[in-house]
């Protein structure tokens, strides 16, 4: 499972980085999204991969910490997803404005 996750993060991160360096704004925003997926998966993996272990204690039961997944990285991922989503939306607006202003979707606003 670790190998599959590692390959997944690597492919997402690599594709994201490549797209980020492309000259078209649309490629850049897709690259940013892929990169943020890779980062989110990475944060999640830092809590160690534990199949079948819930992150939340049951009500009224003290519980053995060893039987539960680490809840903190999951909380961090949630925050990171929300923030990343908002930032991508904001960047999309800037991108459209730039398209309207310069008449080009090149990141430097150059013509074709």
């Amino acid at each position: 499972m670790e190998t599959i996750l590692a390959i997944g993060i690597g492919v997402l991160g690599g594709a994201g980085t490549w797209l980020l360096l492309r000259p078209r704004t649309y490629q850049v925003i897709i690259g940013l999204s892929l990169l943020s997926y890779a980062v989110n998966l990475f944060i999640f993996s830092m809590g160690r991969l534990r199949p079948g272990a819930p992150p939340i204690l049951e009500k009224g039961v003290a519980g053995d910490p060893a039987a539960f997944a680490d809840p903190l990285p999951q909380g961090l991922v949630l925050t990171a997803i929300v923030i990343g989503f908002a930032m991508t939306a904001l960047f999309l607006v800037v991108l459209l404005t730039a398209r309207g202003r310069t008449g080009s979707d090149h990141v430097d606003g150059l013509g074709d």
């Binding site: 980020l20 704004t25 850049v28 940013l32 990169l35 943020s36 980062v39 990475f42 944060i43 830092m46 809590g47 160690r48 680490d70 903190l72 990285p73 961090l76 925050t79 990171a80 923030i83 990343g84 908002a86 930032m87 991508t88 904001l90 960047f91 800037v94 991108l95 404005t97 730039a98 202003r101 310069t102 990141v107 430097d108 606003g109």
Partner: protein, 539 residues
């Protein structure tokens, strides 16, 4: 957990701008009187709180507030110590100046200026106060989101283009931030800065490499904000494209990166952090030196004043980074003094540029520079100008302010720029084990960058102020000139009260070099009672 007096003051600098900004979103932008009153009231309240915190932390050390009253390693803490309080005061001062300046014209240039401005303050204050790495990320994002809005404030192709570069760079930096934070959490199992400082000496051999990799990735994110070469090519373009009040506030944003690096490098990698002590210091030192060199070349090469100011930001950042790289208490005391004076000077300069450039045609700078090269310019037609007319007050006042800015940026006596550089140089020259080569390099670059700033400012000043009277004098309102004058008066006051200010900086620096007091204030019980270190590694 008992709450010490004044601990509410640690929360309010975050809460107040958030609530005021959100409240103002409810109203239409046409209700300007209401919005201006609420915003200005909030900013003045922030200034008052920051000054109170400064006095209180100077007297009693760090003030800690556990948010939600959860004890420290589990809950989130907000901590104000001398350094945080000083940064809060600087933020509030810059906010006052920029906001009052914006009241003349700029606050009408785009929608929701007031809320964005207040949210930026919230992000800045939160980043300075938080004692938790992930919360630092959240406040960074709040600050950045607001700064994206401010970059674009006023619109126009130049700003949109600058934003198109500025936003992705910061989004990628934020991704690196997250990777670094999660690596550190993966190794140590904590994100609380004070808790982290206690656990670092106990990290095992295989975990240490991973931890240091995490710290390095995290540092890259901060160095992008702090604009260390080669992560800084975005800065001059963005800062010169932004509207004057926004650029003046951004002078503070690079200092957030500096602040975090200063805090974390001394807290996590201080003398008593075991094998990791001094991690990354060489990178900061040489990176800082390269940044000063790059900034100096940029200052000399700039053909317009906003770019000149942008490169001055780089010189300031580089100086601070390389001073942090030395890690010596006396050098950092001088660097803190430099931080305060250079931030204020750059803020005043950005505001001043807008006023000076108002009366000039677009592209006047470029012509002025090429005129020096090619000899005869278009200026020959001006010869019949009357000689000996009284210099109008506006130009005289602007020229005076420009002169003071030049002295500040070049570091000439008697202003604080000189005192700060002198303090750093004297600390560099009196080490116990002889002056190292890098210390000589920093001394040389400090002198050289000051000289370059002087040359560039003199050149710009001559082509701006010593020209035949222009047809249209810049019309400057009192409300626009007052913030510039106020900040410059503050700088002069920093010289007049140099001794108490320097005493404060020295104590701040010494407190940073003895992080046990900070850790003791944040962590409730003695560190021995804490959970066993590195509980998760190798699971």
């Amino acid at each position: 957990m008992q709450t010490p007096p004044l601990s509410f003051l640690v929360v309010l600098p975050v809460l107040l701008p958030l609530m005021a900004g959100a409240f103002l979103l409810l109203f239409d932008d046409r209700l300007r009187t209401l919005k201006v009153t609420v915003s200005l009231g909030t900013i003045l309240a922030l200034l008052a709180m920051a000054v109170t915190l400064l006095v209180a932390t100077d007297r009693q050390g760090a003030i800690v507030q556990a948010v939600g009253n959860w004890p420290a390693p589990f809950g989130i803490v907000l901590v104000a110590d001398r350094l945080s309080a000083m940064m809060l005061v600087l933020t509030a001062l810059l906010a006052c100046a920029s906001f009052v300046f914006a009241l003349a014209r700029w606050h009408r240039a785009g929608p929701r200026f007031y809320s964005i401005f207040l949210f930026l303050l919230m992000g800045l204050n939160g980043a300075f106060l938080t004692g938790d790495l992930f919360n630092l990320f959240v406040f960074f994002e709040v600050m950045l989101a607001a700064s994206y809005g401010l970059v674009l404030h006023g619109s126009g192709i130049a700003r949109v283009k600058a934003g198109l570069h500025y936003i992705p760079i910061n989004l990628v930096a934020s991704s690196l931030f997250l990777v670094g934070v999660s690596l550190i959490y993966g190794v140590t199992g904590t994100l609380n800065m004070a808790d982290l400082a206690g656990r670092i000496p106990a990290i095992g051999e295989e975990g240490r490499t991973l931890f240091e990799a995490g710290a390095a990735i995290l540092a890259v994110a901060f160095l992008v904000k702090a604009a260390m070469w080669p992560l800084n090519f975005w800065l001059p373009t963005t800062y010169s494209a932004a509207s004057a009040p926004a650029a003046a506030m951004f002078a503070m944003m690079t200092k957030v990166g500096i602040y975090v690096i200063l805090r974390l490098s001394l807290l996590l990698f201080g003398a008593d952090s075991g094998p990791s002590a001094g991690f990354g210091a060489h990178w900061l030192l040489y990176g800082g030196l390269a940044t000063i060199a790059f900034g100096t070349v940029g200052v000399l090469a700039s053909q317009s004043m906003p770019r000149l100011a942008g490169y001055s930001v780089l010189v300031s950042s580089g100086t601070l980074l390389s001073a942090i790289g030395f890690g010596d208490a006396a050098i950092i005391a001088g660097a803190l003094y430099y931080l305060a004076s250079s931030t204020l000077a750059i803020c005043a300069f950005f505001l001043l540029i807008e006023l000076v450039e108002r009366g000039r045609a677009a592209g006047a700078d470029v012509i002025a520079v090429s005129m020096e090269v090619f000899g005869d310019g278009e200026g020959a037609g001006q010869v019949e100008e009357e000689v000996g007319t009284a210099l109008p007050m506006t130009m005289a006042a602007l020229g005076g302010a420009f002169f003071i800015c030049a002295l500040l940026l070049a570091g000439l006596p008697p202003l604080p720029g000189f005192l700060a550089k002198f303090a750093m140089m004297s600390a560099l020259m009196t080490p116990s084990e002889g002056i190292s080569g890098s210390a000589w390099a920093l001394i040389a670059l400090l002198a050289l960058s000051g000289f370059a700033a002087l040359v560039a400012m003199a050149r710009t000043g001559i082509t701006t102020f010593w020209v035949p009277m222009q047809a249209s004098l810049p019309s400057v309102k009192a409300v626009e000139f007052a913030p510039v004058a106020g900040i410059l008066v503050l700088c002069v006051a920093m010289t007049v009260f140099g001794s108490p200010v320097m005493r404060f900086m020295t104590e701040t620096s010494q407190a940073l070099h003895a992080p046990s007091a900070y850790v003791g204030a944040v962590m409730p019980a003695p560190p021995a009672a804490a959970a066993p270190a590195v509980p998760e590694a190798g699971r």
